[in-house]
C-alpha cells in the first residue's frame, strides 16, 4: 500500500516536473520569437524563393558558358520546380505579408520567372539571356521583400 502511494507521489512529482519543463520551453520559444530570433513566414518564403531564382539564373548561365552539362541543368531544374511549386498560391496568405499591391507586384515577377524555371532554355537557339534577366529581376525583388 505504502509503495503504491510512494509511486503515486513520485508520478505526481514527475508530472509536475514535465509540466514545468514544458512551460519553461514554451516561455523560451515565446521569448526567442519575440526577440526577433526568427523571420516571419512571409520573409522566409520570399527569401528562399529569391535564392532559388538566383540559383536558376546561375544554372542557366553556367550551362550556356559550358561550365555544366545539359543533364546537370535538367536535374537541377527539377529541384527548383519542386521548391517553387505552389508558391504563388501560398504567398498572399503567409503571416507577415505586406499590402495587396506589393504582393501583386511580386506575383507578376514570379509568373514570368516561373515560366523560365518550368521550361528553361537549355539550347543555344532560344533566347536564354531573356530568361536569365527575368530570373535575376525576380530574385532581386524577392530577396528585397524578404529583407536580405
Amino acid at each position: 500500500m505504502q509503495s503504491i502511494r510512494k509511486r503515486q507521489v513520485h508520478g505526481l512529482q514527475m508530472n509536475k516536473t514535465g509540466f514545468s519543463l514544458a512551460i519553461l520551453l514554451a516561455l523560451l520559444m515565446w521569448t526567442l520569437a519575440g526577440c526577433q530570433f526568427t523571420q516571419s513566414p512571409f520573409a522566409l518564403a520570399v527569401s528562399s524563393a529569391g535564392a532559388e531564382f538566383a540559383a536558376a539564373a546561375t544554372t542557366l548561365s553556367y550551362v550556356h558558358s559550358g561550365k555544366i552539362s545539359t543533364q546537370y541543368a535538367q536535374g537541377s531544374f527539377v529541384n527548383y520546380r519542386s521548391q517553387l511549386d505552389g508558391f504563388d498560391r501560398q504567398l498572399p496568405s503567409q503571416q507577415g505579408a505586406p499590402g495587396r499591391a506589393s504582393i501583386e507586384q511580386l506575383l507578376a515577377l514570379y509568373k514570368v520567372a516561373i515560366r523560365a524555371v518550368d521550361d528553361p532554355c537549355l539550347e543555344a537557339s532560344c533566347n536564354w539571356q531573356a530568361q536569365v534577366a527575368a530570373l535575376n529581376r525576380a530574385s532581386q525583388a524577392f530577396l528585397k521583400a524578404g529583407g536580405s
Binding site: 520551453l25 523560451l28 520559444m29 526567442l32 520569437a33 526577433q36 530570433f37 526568427t38 523571420q39 516571419s40 513566414p41 520573409a43 522566409l44 518564403a45 527569401s47 528562399s48 529569391g50 535564392a51 532559388e52 538566383a54 540559383a55 546561375t58 544554372t59 553556367y62 559550358g66 561550365k67 555544366i68 552539362s69 545539359t70 543533364q71 546537370y72 541543368a73 535538367q74 536535374g75 537541377s76 527539377v78 529541384n79 527548383y80 519542386s82 521548391q83 530574385s139 530577396l143 529583407g147 536580405s148
Partner: protein
C-alpha cells in the same frame, strides 16, 4: 607491411567516407548563408567524432563486444530500447535522405528526374547490402569518395577569399530574425557529423575484422588522421559555397546548387566530380546506415548477424534490413527534398545525441570492459560538453524552425 597497409587503408577510407548527404547539405548551406561563420561548428563536430570513433574502436578491440551488446548487458533490455528507438527514428530519416542524395547524383549525371531514380537508388543499396562482403561495403564507396578531395582543389584554384568574407569567420553575418536558422544549422552540422550510427557500424566492423588489443594503434591513427583529414572535404565545401554561392545570393537550398560552386573553378569537370562525389558519399553512407541499424537491432535482440555470413543463417538480420530500407523508401516517396530531409534528420540526431551516447560514457569508464584502457578526464569532459551544446541548440531551434516553416 600488412599493418602499414591496414593503417593506410583505414585513413583513406575514413577520408573518403567522411561526407554524406547531411554533411554536404549542411556545409553547402552554411557557407552560402553565413560565409565562414559556421566553420567553428564543423571543427567542434570533427573533434567530437575523432574522440568517439577512437573510443568505440578501443572499446571493441579490448572488450571484444559491440556497443549494442554492451548497452543491453550493462543497462538491461528495457533501457536498451530507448537508444534503439531514437536510432530508428533518426536513422530512417537519414537513410531516406541518403537515398535521395544518390538519386539526385544520378539525376545530375543523366538529366532524369530524381523522383524516378529514387527507387533505383534503393534497389542498388538493397543489392549491395544483400550480396557484398563487409570489406567491399566499407572500402568501395569510400575509395570512390576520395573525389571529394577535388573540393580542396577547387578552393585552391579560387585563390584567397576577400577580406569581408574572412571577417565572417569571427563575425558571422547573422541578420535580424536569422538567429534561429543559424542555431538550426549548428545543430544540423553537429548531428550530421556526430551520427551515432557510426559507432554501431565501427564497433560491429571491428568484430567483423577480428580486431584485438594489437589493433589499438590502427584504431587511433584511423580516428585521428582519417577523421581529421576527412573533415577537410566538409570545410572545403563550406568555403567553396561561401566564395562562389554567397555573392550570387544563393542559399544552397538544393543539392545540385552546391555543385555549381565546384563548376566555377573546375568547369564541366567540376560538375561531374561533384555528382560523382555526391553519389559515392551518399551511397557509402546509405550502406553504412542500413548495416549499422541492422547490426544494432540484431545484436540487441540476440539474433545471428554478420555481413560475411550466409543470409540463410542470419535470416532475421537480413529481413530487418529489408524492412528498414522499405521504411526509408516510404519516407522518401513523400517527395520531400533530400537536402531538407538531410538537414532535418541531422538536427533530430543532434537532439537525440544524449540518449544515444550517454550510455556510451558509462561503458567507457567501466574497467570490467576496458581494463586499464578506460577514458581519461579530457575525453569525458569534451564529450559531455559537446553533447550538451548539440542538444541545447537542437531543442531551441527545431520548434522555432517548425513554427516559422523554415528549415
Amino acid at each position: 607491411m600488412k599493418k602499414v597497409f591496414a593503417i593506410a587503408l583505414g585513413i583513406v577510407t575514413a577520408i573518403g567516407g567522411f561526407l554524406d548527404a547531411g554533411t554536404v547539405a549542411t556545409s553547402g548551406e552554411a557557407g552560402a548563408k553565413y560565409g565562414f561563420g559556421l566553420i567553428w561548428a564543423v571543427i567542434l563536430a570533427t573533434i567530437e567524432i575523432i574522440l568517439l570513433v577512437e573510443m568505440v574502436g578501443r572499446f571493441t578491440a579490448v572488450s571484444q563486444k559491440t556497443y549494442a551488446d554492451a548497452i543491453r548487458e550493462k543497462f538491461g533490455f528495457k533501457f536498451y530500447l530507448f537508444p534503439l528507438a531514437s536510432e530508428l527514428i533518426a536513422e530512417s530519416l537519414l537513410l531516406a535522405a541518403e537515398l535521395g542524395g544518390v538519386a539526385i547524383a544520378l539525376s545530375l549525371l543523366t538529366g532524369i528526374s530524381w523522383h524516378y531514380l529514387f527507387p533505383v537508388a534503393a534497389l542498388l543499396v538493397l543489392v549491395l547490402v544483400w550480396s557484398a562482403s563487409f570489406d567491399i561495403i566499407e572500402n568501395g564507396p569510400a575509395l570512390l569518395g576520395l573525389v571529394t578531395l577535388s573540393f580542396l582543389v577547387g578552393v585552391i584554384l579560387l585563390g584567397p577569399p576577400k577580406l569581408t568574407l574572412l571577417q565572417t569567420l569571427w563575425k558571422p553575418p547573422v541578420q535580424q530574425g536569422q538567429f534561429a536558422d543559424y542555431l538550426y544549422l549548428v545543430a544540423a552540422i553537429l548531428g550530421s557529423t556526430i551520427s551515432p550510427y557510426l559507432l554501431y557500424f565501427y564497433s560491429s566492423g571491428a568484430i567483423e575484422e577480428h580486431w584485438s588489443g594489437k589493433s589499438l594503434l590502427l584504431n587511433r591513427v584511423t580516428a585521428i588522421v582519417g577523421m581529421g583529414f576527412g573533415s577537410i572535404g566538409s570545410l572545403a565545401l563550406l568555403i567553396l559555397s561561401a566564395i562562389v554561392l554567397r555573392p550570387l545570393n544563393m542559399q544552397a537550398g538544393t543539392l545540385g546548387e552546391i555543385g555549381l560552386a565546384l563548376a566555377k573553378p573546375l568547369g564541366i569537370v567540376g560538375s561531374y566530380l561533384f555528382a560523382v562525389a555526391l553519389f559515392a558519399t551518399c551511397l557509402g553512407a546509405a550502406l553504412e546506415v542500413t548495416l549499422a541499424v541492422s547490426y544494432n537491432v540484431a545484436q540487441g535482440f540476440g539474433w545471428e548477424w554478420g555481413q560475411n555470413q550466409n543470409p540463410v543463417q542470419t535470416a532475421r538480420y537480413y529481413t530487418f534490413m529489408i524492412v528498414f530500407l522499405l521504411i526509408a523508401v516510404i519516407i522518401g516517396l513523400t517527395g520531400t527534398d533530400p537536402l531538407q530531409l538531410a538537414l532535418f534528420a541531422s538536427t533530430v540526431i543532434a537532439l537525440f545525441l544524449p540518449i544515444s551516447l550517454s550510455p556510451f560514457l558509462f561503458i567507457m569508464n567501466d574497467p570490467a570492459y576496458l581494463k586499464d584502457k578506460t577514458n581519461g578526464w579530457f575525453d569525458n569532459t569534451a564529450i559531455i560538453l559537446i553533447l550538451l551544446i548539440a542538444f541545447a541548440v537542437a531543442i531551441v531551434s527545431i520548434p522555432l524552425e517548425i513554427i516559422t516553416g523554415g528549415g
